[in-house]
């Protein structure tokens, strides 16, 4: 879940609540769903919240939410914007993999250390969340005074160009460096370059932003040092590139709202996609950004009442909407429906239901009285679940300790240490269902049978008293193309008797008792199995079907598991008892 770092002095300034203590803020923020997590080394308070309200990723957004919460603000607010002077030209050479760009010019900023830190933090947090680690959207913020707009022709407006660059093309000095590096050198030599290299390194041309003086930004990797933002910066150029226009536009809006909250003026920019550039079909080739248009959705009064279980007057609902930072209007027809206006920093309203949630939060879910629903249904267990349970009860009655083992294991445990080869013609040697990218050598596949788990448990418990009679009714799976999922999943019944006097007979007596409990006919024709001693191994045949194996575990397997007592064991398919 995202975490926002808050300087409470900043919060006091931005909310105008100069007398509110840190503890009071913590409580109020908890009410909004921001949970206090701890403090940073610099004494900032950290709050964790669910990743829906990404407009709260900075102190400015948190302050805005608090002002609505306190009732200091109501309804939708959209900052004024000035007409565009600057243009972002999108050249044909822009990589197809990262076609979209958006931006804004911000004037009259007054960045003290706190405000600058907050801006950098917001940028990084947006990268981590909506920007999907900069892959989907990356933000570059520049000191506009250091950008030299290149007029395409005499008398034209100033512009910058989003274009492609050869990996070993134009060099520039990136942030946190003093050397002129080509894009490829940045990826190879610069710390930030190395971190984000895999986002671009398989592209034919890399994304780059140029002004009249040349390359000054290498999105999504790093900005140039020339346009670095400092506390002295008064005018900013914000640009965002990415794989989705809507996403970068919303990220841009959140940045603009944050800067506007500190008194800055937002100025639009034009975005021109060149003919050969991949134009965003949805929005056309000529855009004016940022797009601070509000959205509208409608939701019925009836839906709000049924979902929250509360009777409302329409005025109360409108009041809740306004306290949530939304505007709503309605006509008093038979069926009241609200037309709700949604500000452009919200990224979480996909459906009218989301508006009902906003009403609920503004009304206070705490104010709802729980009630047990008056809905009659009949309960019951699944048949297989009852069978599993009945077999477990039988085994426990015979003195077995019931086990619960992991379903994931490794080929070493599942086959090798059982003296078994994968694909061998033996019970348990089925084809494994393997994990595509295992994270650990211990968990690389699903177990094809349960006895290896039982042996592992015995291995772990050699320091404990014997006898150790253990059993498990559990999951096993093997690859099977006849199945819809290409995985055959079964429940197995496995039992092992580890004690000085354990013998084939000990195991068979118990297996016979289980079969008797379920009225199943057991036969044990002689067979061979690499995990068991020859001549002391049999197939488990239940009601005429071969379903498992029983025998004295082979000394090679015992020694492999550091066991110094004989073990007799059986395993078979649970279904055999469920006829």
């Amino acid at each position: 879940m995202p975490v926002v770092d808050i300087d409470t002095d900043e919060l006091r300034g931005l909310t105008g609540r100069t007398d509110t203590s840190d503890d009071e803020f913590k409580q109020d923020l908890f009410g909004l769903g921001l949970e206090f997590e701890g403090e940073t080394d610099d004494g900032l308070l950290q709050f964790e919240f669910a990743p829906d309200r990404l407009d709260r990723l900075s102190v400015e957004g948190v302050a805005r939410s608090l002002r609505y919460h306190y009732g200091d603000d109501r309804g939708v607010y959209v900052p004024e914007t000035n007409d565009p002077e600057w243009t972002i030209e999108v050249a044909e050479s822009v990589p197809d993999e990262r076609p979209y760009v958006t931006g804004a010019v911000v004037r009259g900023v007054d960045l003290d250390e706190g405000a600058l830190d907050s801006l950098i933090q917001l940028q990084e947090k947006l990268h981590a969340t909506m920007g999907r680690g900069r892959a989907k959207g990356a933000i570059g913020i520049h000191d506009l005074a250091m950008v030299k707009g290149a007029p395409l022709q005499e008398g034209a407006e100033p512009s910058i160009t989003y274009r492609g660059v050869d990996p070993d093309g134009d060099a520039f000095v990136p942030l946190d460096s003093n050397d002129e590096l080509t894009p490829d050198e940045v990826l190879a030599e610069h710390d930030t370059g190395r971190t984000y290299a895999d986002l671009v390194d398989d592209l034919e041309r890399y994304p780059a932003i140029y002004d009249e003086l040349g390359l000054f930004s290498f999105p999504p990797v790093i900005n140039g040092k020339r346009t670095e933002v400092t506390t002295g910066s008064r005018e900013l150029f914000v640009e965002l590139t990415g794989t989705d226009q809507w996403t970068i536009d919303r990220m841009c809006n959140i940045i603009c709202y944050a800067l506007s909250a500190r008194g800055a003026t937002i100025e639009e920019v034009e975005v021109h996609y060149a003919d050969g550039a991949t134009a965003p079909s949805e929005y056309g080739a000529e855009l004016v950004r940022p797009n601070l248009d509000t959205d509208e959705k409608s939701v019925s009064h009836d839906r709000i009442e049924t979902l929250l279980g509360v009777d409302f007057e329409p005025e109360e609902v409108v009041d809740c909407f306004e306290r949530a930072g939304l505007d709503a209007s309605y006509t008093l027809d038979e069926d009241v429906t609200y037309e709700v206006e949604i500000p452009p920093y919200r990224v979480d309203v996909l459906h009218p239901l989301d508006l009902v949630d906003d009403v609920g939060r503004a009304y206070g879910f705490d104010n709802l009285e729980p009630r047990y629903p008056d809905v009659g249904t009949v309960g019951g267990r699944h048949e297989r679940s009852r069978l599993e349970d009945a077999v477990r009860t039988s085994l426990v009655g015979l003195g077995f300790e019931d086990l619960l083992n992991f379903h994931m294991t490794s080929g070493t445990e599942n086959y090798d240490r059982m003296n078994l080869g994968a694909g061998a013609d033996a019970f348990g040697a089925g084809e494994p269902v393997e994990i595509t990218e295992p994270y650990s050598e211990e968990y690389t596949q699903l177990r094809t049978w349960a006895l290896p788990s039982l042996l592992m448990l015995l291995e772990r418990n050699t320091h404990n008293a014997y006898p150790q009679d253990i059993a498990e009714v559990g999951f096993a799976a093997e690859r099977d193309d006849r199945e819809d999922t290409n995985v055959a999943e079964r429940r197995h019944v496995a039992g092992a008797v580890a004690r000085r006097d354990a013998s084939y007979e000990t195991a068979k007596g118990r297996l016979q008792a289980v079969c008797d409990d379920f009225g199943a006919e057991l036969e044990t024709p002689r067979t061979e199995h690499p995990s068991f001693i020859d001549g002391r191994t049999a197939e488990v045949v239940i009601d005429g079907e071969p379903v498992g194996v029983i025998g004295e575990v082979h000394p090679a397997v015992l020694v492999e598991h550091d066991l110094e007592v004989p073990v007799a064991a059986f395993e078979f398919h649970l279904d055999a008892l469920g006829q």
Binding site: T306, L308, R392, M408, D484, T485
Partner: protein, 502 residues
């Protein structure tokens, strides 16, 4: 006449003329005093022996009393410290005297109150004066303590004893001495030959069949001794918790679900309206399986789910601005939650098309790539439940979950508004730990979004919740490391010793 061996021994040791105490008879017969007492009462009941009981007061020192014998009474120490500081000539601050006396804690109050009571001096305005004429050495309380410590039976004044008793320095008790004499019948019995009944160690079939058991005495066991350990089999502690959960949910009208552990991402995530570029769907968090993609997904359903992701659901719905591909949807992975089962049941593919109202649950395993630690496993059990009905409200959700958790002793549930991609509104559930009183997260819940229910063909409300079974088990068993419970690292002793919950 036949008597058990030990009764006969007691009878023979008793005299018709002299009273003999139990202890004397025990010493003579070599029997334990309690055995002799038991036999004596049995003999009295047969009229062979008379038993006389004499009660006597016993006196002893408490631990505190014993300490004062060694260290002197606190008031005496205060007096002597006062003298040492010349408080017989001029008043000295109380703190100094207490410090000099080495008094500490409750002893200070004890010293001050008894000092005044015994007239060792006066205390006024926080200053202390000692009376040079007082003589702690002649204090009868100290003398009585010393005498009791020596084991003498002190001829102590009753008032002094009461005082010591009220100060908690002596234990006053009562002991009963029993003495026996032979009755006339007893003498007669001894004159005629009394035989011992036979002692046997075990009830045998022969003994029962012959009726001989009536005439034998069974040898005594030390019934307090430990017996050899007996191990029965037991159901796994986590299974028992799961059983309890199932019982509760069945009682609340829920039907159990089942379905594949290895399933397509379609059922695991896409149906849940999880965008395909959601961080939880990256390869780091899931266990993708190396098997061919799943073909058997109904085309129409696939199309509806894709439409919900791309364009939203309903007139005013918006989709995600995320890439979406059928190939990814068909990939097979281990389920990260059992909500895939809920999706299958709600879609009707797991059985019949469901008409409201319905309640369903499962307590089944899920797989998540997490770091193994005392509270996290790669595989754990999820309790999943949902209710389908017309016009369900958030209040119904709250009422249902309150009832569920109440069954496990967790009350005062708090519903914290939350966000899940698949439910709206959503709530994290918090409750008080039944033992520690700490507030802990105990589940996640909400009403399924229309982007979830709509494509599945469900046009009423469905509310759902999920919770890790291990979390509930740790709460109810007090286990601190989940690895002790679950998996091949389990300690068999821990499983054998875990308290049975019900």
């Amino acid at each position: 006449m036949r008597l058990p061996e030990r009764q006969l021994a007691v009878l023979e040791a008793a005299s018709a003329t002299d009273e003999r105490t139990i202890d004397e008879i025990a010493a003579e017969t070599g029997l334990k005093p309690e055995t002799v007492t038991g036999a004596a009462f049995d003999l009295r009941d047969e009229g062979l022996l008379s038993v006389v009981e004499t009660a006597a007061e016993t006196l002893g020192l408490t631990d505190e009393g014993r300490r004062y014998v060694d260290d002197a009474l606190p008031e005496t120490r205060l007096y002597r410290a006062g003298l040492a500081l010349d408080a017989d000539e001029a008043a000295v601050s109380m703190g100094r005297v207490i410090g000099e006396a080495g008094l500490d804690g409750p002893e200070v109050d004890i010293a001050l109150s008894n000092f005044a009571r015994k007239g060792f001096g006066t205390i006024d305005s926080g200053e202390l004066t000692v009376d040079p004429d007082a003589d702690p050495d002649a204090d009868p309380e100290a003398a009585a303590l010393a005498a009791l410590a020596d084991g003498d039976d002190p001829a102590v004044d009753e008032a002094v004893l009461d005082q010591l008793d009220s100060r908690g320095l002596v234990d006053r008790g009562e002991s009963v001495t029993r003495a026996v004499t032979l009755t006339d019948d007893g003498v007669d019995a001894l004159m005629t030959a009394v035989e011992t009944t036979e002692t046997v160690s075990q009830v045998t079939p022969e003994l029962l069949a012959s009726g001989e058991w009536r005439d034998v005495e069974f040898s005594e066991y030390n019934v307090e001794a430990d017996a050899p350990t007996t191990r029965g089999g037991r159901k796994h502690v986590l299974r028992r918790t799961a059983d309890r959960v199932k019982d509760v949910l069945v009682g609340m009208g829920f039907q159990e679900m089942e379905g594949p552990h290895a399933d397509s991402d379609f059922w695991i995530n896409d149906c849940l309206f999880m965008p395909q570029d959601h961080p939880a769907r990256t390869h780091w968090d899931r266990f993708a399986l190396d098997v061919p993609p799943m073909e058997g997904i109904p085309d129409e359903l696939m199309a509806r789910v894709e439409a919900a992701h791309r364009d939203g659901w309903g007139e005013d719905g918006d989709g995600y601005h995320s890439p979406w591909s059928q190939e990814f949807a068909r990939e097979v992975a281990l389920r990260g939650h059992t909500t895939s089962l809920s999706m299958r049941y709600l879609s009707g593919i797991a059985g019949a098309e469901l008409e409201p109202p319905q309640r369903y649950f499962s307590v089944e395993k899920v797989y998540r790539n997490d770091t193994l630690d005392p509270t996290h496993l790669l595989e754990f059990f999820q309790i999943e439940g949902w209710v389908m009905a017309e016009d369900l409200s958030v209040r119904d959700l709250m009422g249902t979950f309150e009832e569920f958790y109440r069954q496990f002793g967790i009350t005062d549930i708090r519903f914290k508004p939350h966000y899940n991609p698949y439910t709206e509104p959503s709530f994290e559930l918090f409750g008080e730990h039944p033992e520690t009183g700490e507030e802990i997260e105990i589940g996640n819940s909400g009403v399924f979004r229309e982007e979830v229910t709509g494509p599945l063909g469900v046009d009423c409300d469905v509310m759902a919740w999920g919770l890790a079974l291990e979390r509930l088990a740790m709460l109810t068993t007090g286990a601190e490391d989940i690895r002790d419970l679950h998996g091949t690292l389990a300690d068999i002793e821990f499983l054998r010793d875990a308290e049975v919950s019900y």
